[in-house]
């Protein structure tokens, strides 16, 4: 044993020595071996490799020079070596990357853009799905049916006999012989294989290209964006910022102009914002020559002409800014003045009660429906009325003080418009008409009006003043008209703009629905759960009762129409002067619009409606046929004639049925009131009060209600079509989410002109080809 121990083994000894030597530096933790792909390495796995420091020749980092030296050895690469050297010399350092948050943000935006684009592909499919009258789930996928039975070779399960094998070999030989005869030396199998390989290769290559392109594009976008972000943060040039500011302003102006056309409300807001920024600038003492720059210049201004000029310019700018404000102020005032006469409510016709009421209504209505379409109409009418009024008044007043007035009348004409307005204005100081604020007239005007009879000397002053006012007014009027026209367009366009909602957009894309169904999106009506079982039968009963009364259960489409309008009336607050055409069963929409604008006064110009109503009332309350004779001739006189008259009379009296006197009319003693008592209260709760959602016009809705659905009215196929449910699913069949096969791929863009020309050639239908 001892011999064995002492036996010297140089290898083992060396190992031992090494182990002892490196005792202090031993790495206890093994270097980890990765068996999973990981995107992130954590620090626990990073083990310091066994240091090679103890070895003498420590390898230093490889420098470029080493590389160049090696390259120099062969003449072939010496050029490359030089180039490398040169590159090192040029020292073009890469730019510092962006800060991490900024870089991340850029990455995120690019990613999101990509996703939105990708999702956008589904728009058309979704729109089509939504607009489809009937949707069948699971979605019918396009399956290609190939009859494989013709090409299918039966599976060889039998062991071939010798004879069969021989036959096969012969066949093969024969085929080869034939080929040789033709001169075809290619191997079919080989060819097929090659082709397949080629195809595969090509496909992958194309894919690779596409992918590389996409990646390159993304990279480019990212670098562009980061470069831009970096640049913009750095720029210090005041001029640049000034220019940028100006550009921004221009952009805003453009936006504003665009908005003005599409969405005037937003435009107004924008205008306000712009105005505000202007005001801020004005308030900031920018151009007041109070800044340090101006103060410095002021010192030099004594000696330098140019500096003085600069300062003067600056002041001019400030003056301009403030000047503008005054102008705008005056604008407001004149508008106020101009609008005042609108308030005048003196066109009073003592003979026509309807027109009287209408006049008071008019203002109310206008308040309600601000910015209305018949604004201009109103104006023209008003002007006419004013003229008539003037004449009327002149006739009345002419007797009393024609002497005094004669001289002034020419001057006063415009002012008479103002005068009557005063009384009204005392009651309601500020009114809003079509969005404009209307305020009390300025006190000076009133004074003028009072002073007029006393002072003839001031006439000239008045004249001047009036001329001014008139000029301004005409100007303002034009402006107003313009604005009003814009306002008129506004509501329509605003609606259109709102439609940009994605959902709506889709709808516009969609095909037109042929079968419209009512959509009701309202909260459910709730009731407590407690006595649910009791409630339901009661409902059934009550409902059947109500439906059984003959007056109730018919729904007359005409009545539906009336209700619609009466509701509107209630909304607008005032009496509605719309005319309702009861008899028009086929209700025309355009006519309706026109008719609604017919005022009652116009419609009943000739006849006296009040009298008509009263006549109706009288007719109803008259006693008519309160007694009914039930006796029939011959009844009771079985024995023939000759029965005493007394007996007959007594009997007839007995058979006389006395009816109760008709109930009093509710509006019997009320003079100008006519309550329609024939309208049924019970029917009302069964009538539709407004046009339900998908329908735009009453006529459409009525038509849809009138159209029968049942098989008793329409042919069977039509019945099936009409009652086809909106969604068809099958029991026990899994409905898969949409797949890419639903997407309609866009046509490939053809680059070559010949390709395009070929594409334009109309395709010959296959049938024609055959023929």
């Amino acid at each position: 044993m001892s011999d064995d121990e002492e036996h010297y083994e140089p290898k083992a000894h060396k190992k031992l020595l090494q182990a002892i030597g490196s005792l202090g530096k031993v790495q206890h933790i093994q270097k980890s071996t990765r068996d999973e792909r990981q995107s992130r390495q954590d620090e626990f796995q990073l083990v310091k490799g066994v240091s090679s420091a103890e070895t003498d020749n420590t390898p230093r980092a490889v420098g470029l020079n080493d590389l160049v030296d090696i390259l120099r050895t062969s003449t072939k690469h010496s050029q490359t070596g030089k180039k490398l050297k040169n590159i090192q010399g040029s020292k073009k350092v890469l730019e510092k990357p962006l800060e991490k948050p900024a870089a991340d943000r850029i990455k995120r935006t690019i990613g999101y853009e990509g996703v939105t684009k990708k999702l956008g592909r589904w728009d058309a499919v979704v729109a089509q799905q939504r607009s489809a009258e009937t949707q069948i789930f699971p979605l019918p996928s396009e399956t290609v049916y190939v009859n494989t039975s013709a090409n299918a070779r039966p599976l060889n399960t039998r062991v071939k006999s010798n004879l069969a094998q021989e036959l096969e070999a012969n066949k093969r030989k024969l085929r080869e012989l034939r080929k040789a005869e033709i001169g075809d030396t290619t191997d079919e199998k080989e060819l097929a294989k090659q082709e397949r390989l080629l195809l595969q290769k090509k496909l992958t290559r194309d894919e690779l290209f596409a992918r590389r392109k996409e990646l390159a594009y993304l990279k480019m976008r990212e670098s562009q964006k980061s470069a831009k972000a970096r640049m913009q943060n750095k720029i210090k040039s005041k001029k640049f910022h000034k220019l940028q500011k100006r550009q921004k302003m221009l952009e805003q102006m453009k936006e504003f102009e665009l908005l003005q056309k599409t969405n005037p409300e937003a435009a107004l807001e924008k205008l306000n914002a712009l105005e505000k920024s202007r005001v801020q600038e004005r308030a900031s003492l920018r151009h007041k020559n109070t800044g340090t720059w101006a103060k410095n210049l002021q010192i030099r201004a004594k000696y330098d002409k140019d500096v003085r000029k600069d300062l003067a310019e600056q002041l001019a700018v400030s003056r301009e800014l403030t000047q503008k404000k005054q102008e705008s102020d005056s604008e407001d005032e004149t508008i106020k003045k101009r609008v005042v006469p609108e308030e005048e409510e003196n066109d009073y016709d003592p003979f026509n009660p309807w027109t009287k009421r209408k006049a008071t209504e008019q203002t109310e209505n206008e308040k309600g429906e601000s910015g209305d379409a018949n604004w201009r109409q109103y104006w023209t009418k008003r002007n006419k009325n004013e003229k008539l009024l003037e004449e009327h008044r002149r006739d009345l007043e002419g007797v009393q003080d024609n002497d005094e007035q004669e001289e002034k009348e020419t001057i006063q004409k415009p002012l008479t418009e103002v005068k009557p307005a005063k009384k009204k204005l005392k009651k309601s100081k500020v009114k809003i008409e079509n969005g404009w604020q209307v305020e009390d007239i300025s006190p000076t005007d009133r004074k003028e009006a009072k002073e007029r009879p006393n002072s003839k000397a001031i006439d000239d002053i008045f004249e001047k003043h009036e001329d001014q006012i008139r000029a301004k007014l005409s100007k303002k009027m034009e402006k107003l008209k313009e604005r009003v026209n814009k306002l008129k367009e506004a509501p329509i366009k605003a609606k259109k703009a709102k439609k940009k909602d994605v959902l709506q957009n889709l709808k516009s894309l969609a095909l037109k629905k042929t079968k419209q169904q009512i959509e009701i999106d309202e909260p459910l009506n709730y009731e407590e759960d407690k006595n649910s079982q009791n409630n339901i039968p009661v409902q059934v009963e009550s409902n059947t009762e109500s439906t059984e009364t003959p007056a109730v259960d018919t729904i007359d489409p005409n009545k539906v129409t009336t209700l619609v309008f009466t509701q509107k009336k209630g909304n607008s607050g005032g009496l509605n002067d719309a005319l309702i055409d009861d008899e028009a069963a086929e209700y025309d929409e355009e006519d309706a619009a026109a008719e609604r604008q017919l005022t009652i006064s116009q419609a009943f110009e000739d006849d006296d409606i009040v009298a008509d109503f009263n006549r109706d009332k009288g007719k109803d309350s008259e006693l008519k046929n309160t007694e009914l004779q039930l006796a029939l001739p011959g009844w009771g006189s079985w024995a023939g004639a000759g029965i005493s008259k007394e007996v007959m009379e007594r009997r007839n009296k007995r058979l006389l049925l006395k009816l109760a006197a008709p109930e009093k009319r509710r509006d019997e003693n009320k003079d100008n009131l006519y309550i329609n008592e024939s309208a049924s209260k019970h029917a009302r709760q069964h009538m539709v009060s407004s046009i339900p959602f998908p329908f735009r016009s009453l006529a459409d809705y009525e038509a849809s209600i009138r159209a029968p659905v049942g098989r008793n009215f329409v042919p069977e196929t039509a019945f099936r079509m009409l009652t086809r449910p909106a969604v068809i699913t099958r029991k026990g069949q899994v409905i898969e989410p949409m797949t890419e096969s639903e997407l309609v791929k866009p046509d490939r863009r053809l680059r070559h002109i010949v390709d395009r020309r070929i594409k334009r050639i109309p395709k010959v239908p296959p049938k024609a080809k055959i023929a």
């Binding site: 999101y112 999702l119 999106d521 709730y526 439906t547 709760q685 069964h686 449910p725």
Partner: protein, 521 residues
């Protein structure tokens, strides 16, 4: 497992969580006739004995009674007789006569014909309301937290519970066919792979476990195929519908490959916990998370960074993508509302869905993408049309507590709910639908009734009946309270508006815009 019928389609439906377990009351396994054509839960010879079933449905009155054909014949005969009696044919006159006859019939029909039709509609509505036997079946288990369907078998549902147990349900027989304890603590998420061979579960013990979808052989133990220890806490899981990737959320959103034990990538934005994750079923690389800082974050599994974040006023509890509209998703929010968003326009939701009176806990789309179902803390389930802001229907029962999770069956027939009182419930998706075999004539009649309902939907009485629902008292009270509060706020706003200067005008903010705080890039 007596009934499992392979269906022709493949793909997994993600996102349902529920829970499971207590007494395993397995009734005798029943031989079941496998009819591939129609899967009818009502067809079984003997369903589980301890399940309560409510399934009543009254058909409406026969149409012939409401619309007497003989009467119409008589009327037409009368009119014709009246108009054409004692007249000889004359070509010039004939046209006029025909028109007269037609007008007469028309007028008479207006008077008599239309009203019974209307009455018929009312009757249909009423019968459907009273016959709406929506509650289908229930069974006691422990609290549910998560559930997922077998993507190929309609009759299989998996649920995970607060006590860490997973249960697989045989829906046709309404029994639990398999159960095992998967995790210590809650089962946070459960999901089938796209080929339905495996089930992934995540739990509070920071592990992802992979289980076989089939039950083990007799005598074998329930052992997970694979257990992955995660570095981060896990709150949810979702599986990609097309490839073998899945995503988990928790402290970070991690994308995993089925064949690897380390995540392919982790996506992080901020430090908040992500508590829900959901893959888009159509554009399968897109996914979304809800974070506890009230935000919804969009991801793309191919990108190295999250895409976008939108912050709402309150926390979103759950998120569901529309399976038929790739770009729309709906979130169930803590503020009693649901919000449907367009992924491309996150600053305003497309629609705000009201009606719940307490926090909405879960949402799931119907496979048709037209409707979705929501579960709420107010102990009710509601069904919404995806484009309407008010619910179509409300489901509740006396014993159902806070509903935790909800799912819509893949054949669009049933809705499943798991609630705090440890029950999984199965509801009909359309309450008044008839279960069982429907004969063609019946089908035609139903379609006709539906068409009539649609036609007269706007009539006030019909509308009233159609929208009338009995609700529990607490819901009614809460609703009244919410209405009062809302009205008060509106009055207040109007007053503020009235009494502020025109120059400092109070803006009108639409209801849609109120709830979105900001969109972060």
């Amino acid at each position: 497992m007596s009934t499992q019928r392979p269906k022709t389609v493949s793909t997994a439906k993600e996102s349902f969580r529920a829970s499971a377990v207590s007494a395993d009351s397995r009734s005798e396994v029943i031989s079941h006739s496998d009819s591939d054509e129609e899967w009818e839960p009502g067809n079984e010879d003997k369903p589980a004995s301890d399940v309560t079933i409510y399934n009543y449905y009254n058909m409406g009155p026969a149409f012939g009674k409401k619309f007497p054909l003989p009467y119409i014949r008589l009327m037409i005969a009368q009119v014709v007789k009246e108009k054409l009696a004692n007249k000889t044919y004359n070509q010039l006159e004939a046209l006029k006569w025909i028109r007269e006859v037609a007008d007469d019939i028309n007028i008479k029909m207006k008077g008599r014909g239309s009203s019974p039709r209307f009455k018929h509609v009312v009757n249909v509505m009423l019968y459907q309301q009273t016959g709406a036997g929506c509650f289908y079946g229930a069974r006691a288990i422990w609290d549910e937290l998560s559930d997922d369907y077998h993507p190929k078998q309609l009759s299989t549902l998996a649920t995970g519970a607060y006590d860490g147990e997973v249960r697989i349900w045989d829906l046709a027989n309404r029994i639990s066919s398999r159960n095992f304890v998967a995790h210590d603590g809650f089962v946070r998420g459960i999901v089938y792979t796209q080929n339905a061979a495996r089930i992934f579960t995540v739990g509070d013990d920071k592990t992802i476990k992979v289980w076989k979808a089939e039950a083990p052989e007799v005598g074998e133990d329930e052992v997970p195929v694979n257990t992955i220890l995660s570095k981060f806490g896990l709150h949810g899981i979702s599986h990609n519908r097309k490839d073998n990737k899945f995503a988990t959320c928790g402290e970070v959103c991690a994308i995993w490959d089925e064949s690897h034990n380390d995540p392919l990538k982790t996506l992080k934005w901020g430090v908040d916990t992500l508590h829900t994750i959901s893959y888009n079923p159509v554009e399968t690389s897109i996914l979304a998370c809800c974070a506890s800082d009230r935000s919804i974050i969009l991801y793309d599994q191919r990108e190295a960074q999250p895409l976008r974040k939108v912050v709402l006023t309150m926390k979103s509890n759950k998120l569901a993508w529309n399976p038929m509209e790739a770009f729309n998703f709906t979130v169930a929010n803590e503020d009693c509302n649901l919000y449907t968003f367009d992924t491309r326009k996150l600053q305003t939701p497309l629609k705000v869905h009201f009606d719940h009176v307490s926090a909405v806990t879960d949402v799931d789309y119907s496979p048709t993408g037209k409707e979705f179902v929501s579960a709420s803390y107010d102990k009710t389930i509601r069904i919404y049309n995806a484009h309407h802001s008010h619910s179509r229907d409300i489901y509740h029962t006396k014993r159902m507590q806070h509903v935790v999770c909800v799912a819509w069956s893949l054949d669009n027939r049933y809705v499943f709910s798991g609630s705090d009182e440890m029950n999984v419930r199965m509801w009909k998706a359309n309450a008044s639908e008839k279960l069982g075999v429907i004969r063609p004539r019946e089908r035609v009649n139903f379609n006709y009734q539906e068409a009539l309902k649609q036609k007269y939907a706007a009539h006030p009485q019909i509308k009233r009946i159609a929208r009338h629902r009995q609700v529990p008292r607490h819901v009614l009270n809460a609703q009244n309270k919410m209405r009062t509060v809302k009205e008060k706020e509106q009055v207040k706003e109007a007053n503020v508006r009235k009494h502020t200067k025109k120059s400092k005008k109070v803006p009108y903010v639409s209801e849609k815009k109120k709830h979105v705080l900001k969109e972060e890039v």
